[in-house]
Amino acid sequence: MTNPVFQLACKMLQANKRKYIIIGVAIILTAVLFTTVISITVQISQAEEISKQLAAGSNFHAKISQISKEQADKISSHGLVKEVFIVSEGTNIYTNPSMAEKNAPSLIACDDSNILSHMFRQIVEGHYPQSKNEILLDKDFLYQLDNEATIGMEITLYIEKNGIVTPQNYILSGILERNVDKRASRVAFTKETYEDNLTAYLIFHNSINIEGKVARLTSDLKLNGITDINDAYLLSRRESLSMESISLFIFAVLMVFFCGFLLIYNIYSIMLIQDIGFYGLLKTIGTTGKQLKRLVLTQVTVIYAFSIPIGLIGGYFIGWRVLSPIFMSLQGVIYHYEFHPFIIIFTAITTYLTALFSALLPVKKIRNISCIEAMRKEYKTHMKARTKHSHMGAKPWRMALSNLRRNPKRTIIMIASIVLSITLFQFSYMLVELISENSDIQVAEFCIYDTEESIVYDFFMEGEHHYSTNNKKLSDSMIDTIKELKGVTKVIPIYTTTKKVAVKEMVANFITEQNDIRVGPDVLERIRNSTLVRDRSIVYFYGIPEDGLEYLEESILTEGTKNSFDKDRFCKGGYALVNSIKEKDQYLSYYFPGDELSLDFLKKNYQVMAIGKPGRGPIRKLAGIYSYPLVSLDIYLSYEDFTDEFDDYDIMAINVFTADGYEDTVKEQLKSLNLNPTVVIRDKREQITEFEKRMASIQIVGYSLSFIVFFIGILNYLNTMICSIHERKKDMALLQIVGMTNAQLKSMLRWENIYYIGFTILLSNFFSLPVLKFIFRKLLHESIAIDAFLIIGMSVSLIILASITLTAVCRNIQRKKPIERLRFS
């Protein structure tokens, strides 16, 4: 026997297709929004992870070095390990015996050519080495060899072994594409030699708790080698699990939930009230409260079953297929995001829960109403009977206000839903605006920098960099030449050098009793955990000329230290600006403003003036390559202090400012300087064009999302308005019978609209905007400016749409005479 409740639910769906299609559309929109929000989150997280892996040079979870062949075999067969690449890590290779090259490749000997894909390397010509005298090198290194490299050619390279430089002959088996990410260390590959000092590059089944897995592996196999976890995972995990990321995700999911909830709830609520007589009848003939609940639940489930595939497909295309290429283009790298089934499952569950809650709440109303009241369609509003009579006459504006007060719950829900949609709309709109503002467009017309500039991640490389005046790609003499070029108005170079400091020593500076009081022991513990995973860290020094200080913006300094930065005092010398690292929801730094910066190799001590944001924040518009935060210490000094301290330095970037109209002339002159192939002259105009293209994509997606949210809100509002007018058809017919004209009736409804929109705008301004400001300030550490145009635009579109809908509904209602409406309502 067919379940009567199911049968009845299906019949109801068939009989009221139009009504239920509206609910279906609401479910579809909710699913699209959920998929989009989750997709964006997953893509951002994956993009972060992949870009960090690219910078780290591999996607291996960890490596264990100094192990024997037997130990390597045991690791391969351990259950925790999905893939393992046993390599013999050689030393660096050089093109000449002086070994003066910066960023020389590290030689990796491995049997398995699949290692290339894990290290994001592609062979453009030739093949992977098949014998130990074959070698695979990248294009740039071959260029440095200064010959026409061809596959099969014998080349001589210099290897340092036990402090002795040894020449070694290799046959070039293949050529690698340049590093995808210039920050990744350079590597060369050869066939393995399997000496006893091996390293295992590990891939576990997943990236959860890598530290724990490494610890278990070493304890299970009793390994005593050096373990090293790929910081790409640690960093991306730290960012994705940060308070702000999680809060933002929860905020977005909750907003979508409430948007969908209010939309479906409103429609369902109105439908149930319209059909209250029907439900009353069902109760009368013996339908229990549970059965009524099951009836509504079945309806929702059936609608959901039909709508969710459309919602998921729509969400997949909008949230994933459209966004994915855009995110890819933002990264400027060809790699694919993995579509995770989690997105579908999460969307399906959250959408179903949203639909279920939305529909089941109004059921309470019909469960509690008596059969007779329900059958007579006497649904009681929450308004108390008013016995006070107006002596001012029945003014439309007054009647409209009374109508709003007659059903305060509906009024509140209607206003709340639209305010919520507007809030979400403003949130996504402002986020897009913020991304647009936070562009890193260089300040100078041209920025000359070396793509191989030494941001070397020490995942593979342990050696220090050596600077040689002869080997500099950008030099002081070049600066002098550029200054003399026609049309050049100003040249600002940025100087840099790196030093290695023992992390323990650095942390020791930080972990003082004073800091324990200032930041609390838990923060200190986090610093210890994040930093002590490696033995040594690089300290980057930057020298900024006085001209360059003009371009330091306050926004690059962390909150609380902005006021402590004084450009004039900084120029005079003796002061330093240090970076911070972002740990969960805080910017943490080893130093605080006012601290003495004292390192062994520095000639004098410096007073820390302010703390900059991570990733070369203070010089991000002058540095050429943007860096993101690795666990390192960046110290910015004035040019004079920098040159006093260091003799071995590099020029990281030369910023060339030109007179108006001289851009092309200067560019031609710069090109004729015969720069090294790895040196790039970046044109601000091209950067702006690129940026505009990129921003166009972000804006299209961001504004589309904003539009969907706003559309849901509008749809919700219009739907509620239409339903509430239809619900009052009888009352309106009565009013007309007693003498109210069509114009007066319309005027009353128009006033209702004005009140709704007025309250909505008021609430949006006084509630949602302050909330958004708070969220942006606290979670994103950004202050936002409110766009008056946005508010006016929203209000105008609301008024126009509401007026059009109102006219259409009134016209539709007035097709029938009042007495007909009274009779058939």
Partner: protein
């Protein structure tokens, strides 16, 4: 005694809008009785019927059916009790527009999780003369036919009590008489207790007992010694009354 109402009072609204629909009404109805309740509009007859059927809640007083106080039951218990023991016939039929005749009739049974007794339902539909309309939707039927469907639905679960609230109110006089006689016939055939509300004196006279109600109080409650026999079976003609 099947139904007993004890001091039933029902007040709607409060303060200035307070309306006392029933005032301290008590009555008893025996099993198999055919009782009509008459009164003017607003006298409280529908309220009384609704309270007897457990559709509304009294402000005070009790309704005992088979000795059980129905207002002591929980909401869902009362619904199930109503589904099994009470059949309702309304003036405006109150059929479910999306279900056909047969589905409307068997719905209370289905809601009760029972398999419909096909022979009984068939005999019911035949008795009521709507057997051939079983697949029609209510909107495709005349008023009289819709009321017959409503009666069939009220009797589908073989309830002991049938409460009819002005079952002829929306029907023309000929169809009204047919419906009343059908109720009478069913009362005799299935020995069901029928309580019918009407403001039509002639129809009231077909009942074995007439209760008159005015301003929320019972003014007379007496056995009808002059049962109107002017609606003989043969007057209705046709096999549907067999």
């Amino acid at each position: 005694m099947l139904i007993e109402a004890r001091n039933l009072t029902k007040i709607y609204g409060s303060g200035e809008t307070k309306v006392c629909a029933l005032k301290d009404v008590s009555l008893c109805i025996d099993r198999g009785e055919f009782v009509s309740i008459v009164g003017t509009s607003g006298s409280g007859k529908s309220t009384l019927l609704h309270l007897l059927g457990g559709l509304d809640e009294p402000t005070s007083g009790q309704v005992l059916i088979g000795g059980n106080d129905i207002y002591r039951m929980k909401q869902d218990e009362l619904t199930v009790f109503r589904r099994r023991c009470v059949g309702f016939v309304f003036q405006d039929f109150n059929l479910i527009p999306i279900l056909n005749v047969y589905e409307n009739v068997i719905l209370p049974l289905q809601l009760d999780g029972c398999k419909p007794d096909k022979d009984y339902i068939e005999s019911l539909l035949t008795t009521l003369g709507i057997s051939e309309k079983r697949y029609y939707l209510p909107s495709q039927l005349s008023g009289g036919q819709q009321q017959r469907v409503a009666i069939a639905r009220a009797l589908a679960t073989r309830p002991e009590i049938v409460l009819a609230d002005e079952p002829t109110g929306n029907l023309d006089s000929k169809t009204s008489l047919e419906v009343v006689l059908l109720l009478k016939l069913l009362n005799e055939k299935y020995a069901q207790t029928i309580v019918m509300i009407t403001h039509n004196e002639a129809i009231a006279q077909t009942a074995k007992r007439i209760i008159r109600i005015e301003d929320g109080r019972i003014v007379t409650n007496q056995v009808n010694e002059h049962i109107d026999q002017s609606f003989p079976m043969e007057q209705k003609g046709g096999s549907c009354y067999d």
